[in-house]
């Protein structure tokens, strides 16, 4: 017992230290958003604001169409998530329950797409979106992100843990494959679907580089694109405003994660993927 206690203590100390390291930028972010410009550049750095003020938030809400940005971002993130979930479910289902020639090859080549760097894909994707006339529209951002290899992989792993005889039994009862997917398989993989959705949503919400290429007009901007608007390369950046906007941007994904973290952890533990 004593040894266990010691081990537990050391484990907890390590966890607490790494938690503090991870939390530091967030603390800095929140506290900076509550400071005025003078305090931000104060040396030595004070982690807590002296006279906390919400003026940065009011200025952001006042000067920028923040609700429009949020709306744009939400539209893109939710559409991408829905499409990715549908394609992952269908593809995962196909890989698990259908036997066809070249199944393993197809699956393996799909896994290989994880390893293609994004920079390689940008050119062809950009040309495609441009020739479809979707530049500067949210659809241009969405279209290249409606299928996700990781999602398919995770769905397949989860469905493989369901005994195959359950599917076979339902087939013998006369159910169609789509009926089985909807009424039998989906309820059984729901925790994974929830956690993968959150992952997709947060990724799409935070996406920066691809929307930057596609979206030109400010009315189409997402929150991530709006963030650097306060920071100019020539100096005179308004750090307080940038920080306030950053806090506003992170609130939604943060809440989502807290609500669903139980599912998220389970999915990754089950599938053997360690984050």
């Amino acid at each position: 017992m004593k040894i266990n206690l010691k081990k537990e203590l050391i484990g907890h100390i390590i966890l607490i230290v790494s938690l503090l390291i991870c939390l530091w930028p967030i603390v800095f972010l929140v506290s900076a958003s509550l400071k005025d410009l003078n305090q931000i550049f104060q040396y030595p750095l004070n982690p807590l604001p002296e006279n906390p003020t919400l003026s940065n938030y009011f200025t952001v809400l006042d000067r920028f169409p923040i609700f429009q940005f949020t709306g744009n971002t939400f539209f893109i993130a939710i559409t991408v998530t829905i499409f990715k979930i549908i394609t992952s479910l269908l593809a995962g289902f196909g890989f698990v329950y259908y036997r066809f020639k070249g199944r393993e090859l197809l699956f393996n080549s799909m896994v290989l797409t994880f390893f293609i760097p994004m920079s390689v894909l940008i050119m062809p994707n950009y040309l495609l979106i441009s020739s479809l006339g979707l530049l500067d529209t949210p659809y241009g951002v969405i279209l290249v992100e409606i299928v996700d290899g990781m999602g398919i992989y995770l769905m397949r792993q989860t469905m493989r843990s369901i005994p195959k005889s359950i599917y076979e039994c339902a087939i013998l009862e006369g159910a169609s494959p789509l009926y089985i997917l909807w009424h039998i398989i989906l309820p059984l993989v729901r925790p994974s679907v929830i956690s993968i959705s959150i992952m997709f949503f947060i990724n799409a919400w935070n996406e920066y580089f691809w929307p930057l290429l596609i979206l030109k007009s400010k009315t189409e901007y997402t929150l991530a694109l709006a963030l650097p608007m306060f920071i100019s390369a020539e100096g005179g950046s308004e750090w307080g405003l940038a920080m306030a906007l950053a806090v506003l941007t992170s609130i939604l994904p943060f809440i989502l994660f807290i609500i669903c973290q139980k599912y998220i952890l389970n999915t990754f533990i089950q599938s053997g993927v360690k984050g």
């Binding site: 005889s165 076979e168 087939i171 013998l172 009862e173 006369g174 039998i184 059984l188």
Partner: protein
Amino acid sequence: MHNIVFNKVSKTYHEKEIIKQLSFEIKEGERVVLLGPSGSGKSTTLRMIAGLEDISDGELYMGETLINDVPAGDRNIAMVFQNYALFPHFNVWDNIVFGLKLQNLPESEIKERAKAAIEMLNLKGYENRLIQSLSGGQKQRVALCRAIVKQSPYFLLDEPLANLDAQLRQHARQELIKIHESCNSTMIYVTHDQVEAMTIGQRIAILHEGVLQQFDRPEIVYDNPANLFVASFIGTPAMNLWPLITNNGQVTIGSSTLELPPYVKEKLTTPALTVGIRPEKLRLVPVERAMLHGECQYIENIGNIQNCLFQVNDMIKGFIQFSGLENKINIGDSLGINFNWNDACFFDSETGINLNSKQSH
């Protein structure tokens, strides 16, 4: 007609032929057991009937219809799986009526059928229970119940009792036979357990490496196995099989030279003969009057009977089974053993085929 006819059915998987030219007929309303060691292809055969595996070659008929390409859902089959395959997110009632609802039956008939099946399997009061709250035996009964309510003419079972403990199994065997007798469907039952096969099957089909070895009534399979594989597979302890060389109609076992019966002499084509005799057909007799002389090497006491391993010489060993009360013998004792030639089976040592096999199917 709800019979099933296999006509040279083969199954190739990854270029390996796992079912080889299977031809036999299961009659309407019959209770047939597919028996074999693991990897013999018995489950594959059942799954081909169900439509869960493709048929690579040959023809499979159900009734008058060729069903090679009929999808599983259209074959009107009820199946019970080894792991029960219950839908874990439904309660007992929803599991049982799942297939009936898909058939768009009127609500009143669904209720009537489900209630009758629940009654039959003593599941009353469990309708609203969730699957994970049930014991193994209860899950097995729910799976049976779900198959019965379909009232389909074909009833397939894939090792349905394998996950039950020994006491429940005997009870479940009786129950299965009762169910079959009341619903009269054609029942095909897969197992690797020969006790289940002998007790449940009206006929047993024994498979080995994808080839049908024998298809006959249990007592014939036991008393007159078609070949050496069946002889060694059925029965515990297995049939004693002694490879011998015949010489002018005589065989030498240890120090004894014995005359073969005339009907065997007629059928001999090669001198290599394997004599098979069940342990319970051997009798202990005083050494002076014995046909065979052996030494006891090992005794297994099962309470009511004893199995004794004896050795005649380096080549000839065997089990003899006798009542534990009648005889007291110890390891190392000399035994005198008698038997009746009529109780013995004779196999061609090279082909393994029973010289006296009756092809009754």
